[in-house]
Symmetry: C2
Subunit: 217 residues, 2 copies
């Protein structure tokens, strides 16, 4: 049975996989070939039993008395996360955040291929970021039709985001990485991953007031 | 009993609060004074019963037959999230991502006051972003001691992040908004909110392969 045939992996495990992937990648870079769940547990500050449980979901890559083969486990988790396939990605909005994403070279290493960057600002036309020219929005729908765009990152103001997302979906984009501070209300089969920075900052602020309150009593 | 004395609010509810806050803020901007849980449910695509349950955690702001008073509920959720207090924030790393955060004016509206921006690149010295000059890293520890810095946003490479975070904490910073792709391993009382963009992209990639797989069968 392949790992991908397993159906009942909980969302919580899936959310933890990228962190395993990151730690295993660092171990690999440092030439570590195998690791016990106890050692991985110390590094990741997760219990060894949680590690064993999580990785058992995928058939269990560990062997008693040997531990985990780092390279194998890294590759298998990469497969589960869909990283062995390339995904073409475009970025809508070439402001600071869009440029930060475009400049983030390790995305490419994991199979996210930057195909295009779009903006409304004519001053940015022709400027290239990592060799990819900034195009104007009126070229977007044709570009999406002609290139096999899997993912569009939206780093545009919220009042534009809903319309642009609908247009992208009409032209075949199936996944949106949404940084705009709004919900997109797209058809159910469209995959949306939201990164709402202001909500993340509010979580931080909540924890600070909780902490202050507890220490003032 | 004040809302803040309630102890047993689940993490899941807390995670949903910023979204309620966003919707209520938009309603306020549009002049809406009151809203029923059914109407809020339609807009937020959450069941009305979940909305009632969530908001009941805070004593229930709704009145039968009237609905929720938008302004009051917005203000109360803001209090719970700690947004009625100001928090001084500094940004370490004045690259694209640091600049994107610095330029994000609505943070200020919610009480996050940008006090300083720091970088190692001498070319950035003296440049100002929204009136705040970029300072060099050798000024950081003195700056943190002299200013009441609650939150430091880290947008620096992972190999620098751990040391910089430790130094910040030694100088009194109690909360880190961490964009570096690493865990910081700080003392337990330090509040850390991680934004790992590459992990968010992997979640997206996971969902794409799951979708493709299901539709190829």
């Amino acid at each position: 049975m392949s790992f991908l045939e397993e159906r009942e992996i909980s969302q919580a495990v899936i959310r933890r996989l990228p962190r395993y992937y990151r730690y295993l990648g660092e171990l690999l870079e440092n030439g570590v070939e195998r690791i016990s769940s106890n050692d991985l547990s110390r590094r990741m500050k997760v219990t060894a039993s949680q590690i064993r449980q999580d990785l058992n979901n995928f058939g269990g890559f560990g062997q008693q008395g040997y531990g985990y083969n780092v390279k194998y486990l890294y590759a298998e988790i990469g497969k589960i996360l869909g990283l062995e396939e390339d995904h073409n990605i475009i970025i809508i909005g070439a402001g600071n955040l869009g440029q930060a994403l475009a400049n983030y070279a390790s995305f490419e290493k994991r199979g996210f291929i930057l195909k295009g960057i779009f903006d409304v600002n004519p001053r940015l036309q022709g400027i290239s970021i990592r060799g990819v020219p900034v195009r104007m929005m009126d070229e977007l729908s044709a570009f999406v039709k002609e290139n096999d765009v899997a993912i569009a990152a939206l780093t545009i103001p919220k009042d534009k985001a809903v319309d642009v997302a609908s247009m992208l979906v009409e032209n075949g984009v199936r996944a949106i990485w949404n940084f705009a501070h709004t919900d997109l209300n797209l058809p159910e089969h469209i995959i949306v991953e939201n990164v709402h920075l202001s909500e993340s900052l509010m979580q931080l602020s909540y924890k600070i007031s909780r902490y202050n309150e507890e220490h003032q009593r």
